[in-house]
Symmetry: C2
Subunit: 420 residues, 2 copies
């Protein structure tokens, strides 16, 4: 799947993790063959790795996003750097099996329980960096500022104290200790307008200094209501006022927007990261994807709380919701969905996500002979395949998945070891 469309018998050549040749209609020669259709590496633009521990464990109690959050906080309260590493490594390996080559980890679990710091104030972030390294995928650590328990400056709950640096300057000092490395980039996050006071928002943007800024926006109506009541602004308006929207910003979820919000996001060049499986699972609602696209807003996808780790599924849900809502097919073309599945630039990896000379040498080979994919048109693979059809994954020139097996071994077993 080249930038120009589907090609056959493509010979990929790489050196130092970058493509030095991408040549259709080639003889195989000595090259290692890849099965099926070869896609660029996929970008999972919104992840909370530890939420994976809640998969299939909260469906017996009804409730809402907010009651689910209480259960999530119970998991958050139990993790330390060692267990966080072990869990995240397995989750990132699950992502690798799904063809994901870059992940944006929206990280807010900074302190030890109760809010006291670890000896290394970035011990939890360092655990995530090591986990991604060992799982073989690139990481953008989006270090979240989290200071308050609500838009009106409500105090933090016991568990939330783990998320906080106390004030925005202390957050900035901790973040300043983090440095990019091969396969690792650092961005920042405004957890949400619930967790960062209006006055602190410009400081977060200043700390970002052009690196990616991610922010949860309008996932639930209650956030909008509180923001309007407290500030007289929608969350999007509040972020805009603070200078927090721009072309390096990603607004995550953006489910409950009005037309003015959409115009603001579009004017700023802000990306919206839709997480359809999570937004269904947590009863958030359906993001206005068609309206965002019509306004020119770039879209990305994320598996967020990992009810499933499968960007094919996310793309299928995005388009499926559109079809069901508008009674029209093809609201997003396979190519448009592919663009959303490979939005590495929004994670600071502008040189990834394309099968072309000079780009990072990521490859995802998807089998076209499984029970799920047999008979499909390769150009429509994003609407027919699943993560289970991924055969081979190469990240920066290194093969990390072959024959559906991760180089770390049985990833189900790795997950079982930490989750059961």
């Amino acid at each position: 799947m080249l930038p120009s469309g589907l090609a056959r018998n493509v010979l990929f050549e790489e050196s130092d993790g970058r493509f030095t040749g991408v040549t259709p209609d080639s003889e195989p020669g000595e090259a290692a063959p890849l099965p099926g259709v070869v896609l660029p590496g996929l970008a999972n633009c919104h992840s909370h790795a530890f939420h994976r521990a809640l998969r299939g464990r909260t469906h017996d109690r009804g409730g809402s996003f907010w009651t689910w959050r209480e259960t999530m906080y119970e998991v958050a309260a139990r993790l330390d750097p060692e267990s966080y590493y072990t869990l995240a490594r397995a989750v990132y390996a699950e992502m690798a099996l799904a063809g994901i080559t870059s992940v944006g980890e929206f990280h807010y679990l900074h302190q030890a329980p109760g809010g006291r710091g670890y000896d290394d104030p970035n011990a939890m972030g360092v655990a995530l960096i090591a986990a991604a390294h060992d799982a073989g995928i690139r990481l953008t650590l989006l270090d979240a500022c989290y200071l308050t328990g609500g838009v009106a400056g409500e105090p933090l709950s016991d568990v939330q104290r783990r998320f906080s640096d106390g004030d925005v300057d202390a957050w900035g000092r901790r973040v300043a200790e983090l440095h990019d490395a091969p396969g690792v980039r650092h961005g920042v996050a405004i957890h949400s307008v619930r967790a960062v006071p209006r006055a602190a928002l410009p400081t977060v943007v200043a700390v970002a200094d052009g690196r990616p800024v991610h922010v949860h926006v309008s996932e639930q109506p209650a956030e909008n209501e509180a923001c309007l009541a407290t500030c007289g602004l929608t969350p999007t308006q509040l972020l805009g006022e603070a200078g927090a929207l721009g072309p390096t910003t990603t607004a995550v979820h953006a489910v409950h927007l009005d037309n003015a919000d959409i115009d603001l996001l579009a004017a700023a060049g802000t990306t919206v990261c839709i997480c359809p499986a999570t937004e269904h699972d947590l009863a958030d609602g359906i993001a206005p994807a068609a309206e965002l696209r019509a306004a020119g807003v770039p879209l990305s996808l994320g598996s967020d709380q990992h009810v499933v780790i499968d960007l094919f599924r996310e793309a299928q849900l995005l388009e499926g919701d559109q079809r069901a809502g508008w009674l029209q097919r093809g609201r997003f073309s396979p190519a448009q969905l592919g663009t959303a599945m490979t939005a590495h630039a929004s994670l600071g990896w502008a040189d990834a996500g394309r099968l072309e000379v000079g780009a990072r040498a990521d490859l995802v080979a998807v089998r076209l002979d499984t029970v799920r994919t047999a008979g499909i048109d390769a150009s429509q693979v994003v609407l027919a395949a699943s993560a289970a059809d991924v055969d081979t994954v190469v990240v920066d020139g290194t093969e990390i998945v072959r024959g559906g097996e991760h180089r770390l071994g049985d990833v189900g077993e790795l997950l079982m070891e930490v989750l059961t």
Copy 2:
């Protein structure tokens, strides 16, 4: 997953295809172990086997249900009994791999091209029966009456002539030649109010004579509009007037209903078969599942045109749409979804779908140690697993899938042979 809920170390004993013992907390003894969580066999209550040929092949052209139908007709025009057998056998084997032990095949591809009959007027139905037999799953052949091209009696198109017996009596005579056999039951179908004239509906019901009657109802607004314009009734009202609703009837889709329609279905004890993946894919809309349940309407699930064959996915979409629409979680409990996934009775197999003594000895073992299912609560498996997690499938006491492999061999290859 026993009728009373989750149990451990259950010993299953069977004789002549029925359970003779279902005993929790047993010693394994000589019994063959099953991995993961063991569910009853799943019922795929709405299938058009040949639509599988369209998976991943119609996403490049936008359009609507009606333009998709044109492409589907091109496939319908090409099939003969031999190719239909080969295709359906592979599709039913794909179903077996997904844990499906009964399928309701809504069958309308009766005649040779142009509408002339085969030497055996039931040659196409016989092909389906052989296909299900060889794939090892039970079949309810829902033989559809299809006489007109629209509610106002529009003539059939060229392709549609393959679907028609000419008149309802000729349809009834052909259907009378079909007889139940082990693993095979016969029901009837009213294709839709578009395809069966008002005056012919009571005859179809009479031919059914208490066997299952399935009917496409209000999949698209255009059907409602035509029915109201022609008859002054909604499709549901028209079917009710004809006596076609009742406890052995299944209304398939039922997406575009008004409150009176829902009350009619409930009063009649009619089952509604929701096909969420298809209804998204074909831009049909979202069925009013909560309103149907509140009225007391039993629900079943179907993979219909097989954009995916995975009743776990169907259940997840059903509940996910509810959550996104109502901003509440747990709209359908895992147990309620499990009931919809095992609605064998609506296919005439009232003795299947429960792990209890006397019931048909169907088993589906779902692994709990895959990347998808590791760490989940077994009682919530329907909201976390996928067809790819099915390990072992037993139908009427016979093992047809073990270790995720069908006894016919590589089902992807079987599909490739017929689809490429």
